[in-house]
Symmetry: C2
Subunit: 382 residues, 2 copies
């Protein structure tokens, strides 16, 4: 294969964005071959903008079986991702799925299994994994610069969303339409980066979601979660959509000091010797380890979606390792599901979560959601 | 009364510190009249330094009934505070008690009742209430500059204490000797300031204490607590003694913006109009309220213990209102007790707490503590 014929599933904001850089030729080896959407007006717009060189289909199935594409980028509403990805794999297509991987881990596990059995290239649009800040953080931690992690703390409350935003789509911020709020829509990147940069998945989670906080919506838009890791470290994740201005501050402390990412800067307070060693040899009551403060230089740029699409295309063409393998989408989603489940059960949630229980609890919300939103709950592409 | 004859109960670090500035004449209207300590060597040292002008007693009771003092500063180990304060009130003495007010709220409630019945001036050594940073914060919040509070978040992990510190006194960091760890020894100021500056006491608390984290001690030295307030706001308090370098960052967000205190600076991101009003009138999907960032000017100085002693002395002489009324010591202690209780019961704790249950649980720890520390659990003055 010399070039990958790419099809886009769903011409919402994200799908249109991906189409644009493909049309502009920004992805070497990749070409926008087809698009599909259930809304005729979106296809009309595609024809007007890109002409007949880009094939148009009124359903994903039609595009999958057309023979016109080698791989697809799935940009439909969250609930649809796994089903469509599974169909695409069945049609022997490579898949790049938008985040979140899905709404509940059970469906994402099925998607992962289909991917594993297909032998196709399976990526997820975790473009923040190409952000030099988080790449550097991951590299520092993986190389041992921070020592064993003792605490993580992410305050990510700068997802300001007004009521007007929530009113802009009937499917938005509903259990039936989105399957969640800030955790499923705004936070997937952070939930992924939290585990990806540190290399740590929580062992258990106790979370406190508040639903419709200062907003007329039914889903969670204010969350505080406490997590414990296998190595004894603990962590906190705080997020909301109603605070202005919010905060985006990620602090990780370890045996060799502390790293804080805030305002697109990374500061590293590095201990000259590990705390554990200092503590072992120190004989004074109030002594502290010697600390050196660094601003870590960060390469500019990155974090654009097209980096992930380029990487996925190169993986198809040349076997380049994926930056964001699709299988890993379940990790952040597991954390997200666990936070909701902990709130619904008012107790601890051990990981891996009880997927059936989560589905049952989500279904309860959906039933109420449907009742409350019978008129306007119309899932559509983002 | 023209001057207050002050007696100091317990010549540990704190008691000696208070004695020094009194001897230096730094408290107008106050004079160091007497000291007491159960340790003869401390009294010998007092005689060597201050001569016979400062009376010496080998027990609090002897000093209380001597007629040589009008008021006392109680600087003994935490457990002793309430009992000694109650005795002092019974001897018609004014009382300034060191923090924490006590170890468990039941004993502090009894102290408060004794104080109320005595008609004497009753203060607590919350010297951080004289810190201009926190005074300013309290004033800004009370005057409505921040609007209704939506979230509080205090990360106070810069209480670094090495194993050597913990080994320096057998009573340290034991249930029998101190009755707790970082919450009872290091955090009382922050636990007070958290509620005093915001004017909010939690309605309920879910906390996660870790005991002997990276240290060979039996008490908590790593705590994460989630709280909910009556007005629907939530909060987080994270503290530890094993991280280096730690963080001291207090963030409060409200309807009119956000205040962060860190590195002895206060930054106020102030919304031009309240978020609730912006949200009501806004019709755009991704608009945000206009925000102006200010560095709030802070008067230098403050936070010294002698400010509280001066204020208490003036309250005795002239009826000056107390900055830190003794009755308020129970507030921070209630939060602290609730955090331990939530951990021990692995569940929510509603405020006010079940004091009997807390005492029973604490007693369980003490029994184990005594068994484990039979040889070296010797409470003594700080």
């Amino acid at each position: 294969m010399q070039r990958v014929r790419i099809g886009i599933v769903g011409l919402g904001n994200m799908g249109t964005g991906h189409a644009k850089y493909l049309i502009e030729g920004q992805v070497s080896g990749g070409v926008l071959a087809a698009v599909c959407d259930v809304r005729p007006e979106r296809l009309d717009q595609a024809k007007a903008e890109w002409g007949d060189g880009v094939k148009r289909f009124d359903s994903p199935e039609a595009m999958f079986r057309s023979g016109e594409v080698d791989g697809v980028i799935i940009c439909t509403p969250h609930y649809e991702h796994p089903k469509q990805a599974i169909e695409a794999f069945a049609h022997d297509l490579h898949v790049l799925v938008e985040k979140p991987a899905g709404v509940y881990t059970k469906q994402v596990r099925e998607m992962n299994e289909a991917a594993a059995g297909s032998g196709k290239i399976y990526g997820i649009m975790y473009n923040q994994r190409t952000n030099p800040l988080y790449r550097k953080l991951k590299e520092l931690i993986a190389s041992g610069e921070l020592g064993e992690i003792r605490r993580t703390n992410w305050i990510i409350t700068n997802w300001y969303r007004s009521q007007s935003y929530y009113n802009s789509g009937g499917w938005r911020a509903t259990w039936a339409g989105e399957g969640g709020g800030v955790l499923i829509n705004q936070d997937p990147h952070q939930l992924d980066l939290w585990q990806w940069t540190t290399g740590l998945m929580p062992k258990r989670i106790r979370a406190f979601c508040q639903f419709g906080k200062h907003r007329d919506i039914e889903v969670e838009n204010d969350v505080t979660a406490y997590v414990e890791y296998e190595n004894g470290a603990s962590g906190v994740f705080v997020t909301s959509t109603h605070e202005a201005p919010g905060t985006n501050r990620f602090e990780i402390s370890g045996d060799r000091g502390k790293i804080v990412i805030e305002n697109d800067q990374m500061t590293f307070w590095r201990l000259r010797e590990p705390e554990s060693e200092f503590n072992k040899r120190n004989t004074e009551s109030f002594a502290q380890p010697e600390v050196w403060k660094f601003e870590i230089p960060i390469t500019p740029g990155g974090a654009e979606h097209l980096h992930i699409t380029r990487n996925w295309t190169q993986a198809i063409l040349k076997g380049t390792p994926l930056i964001a393998p699709g299988e890993e989408g379940i990790k952040g989603l597991t954390i997200s599901n666990a936070m909701l489940l902990s709130t619904w059960t008012d107790g601890w949630v051990d990981l891996p979560i009880d997927e059936e229980l989560f589905c049952a609890k989500l279904q309860e919300q959906i039933e109420r959601s449907k009742a409350a939103n019978a008129a306007n709950a119309q899932p559509s592409a983002r």
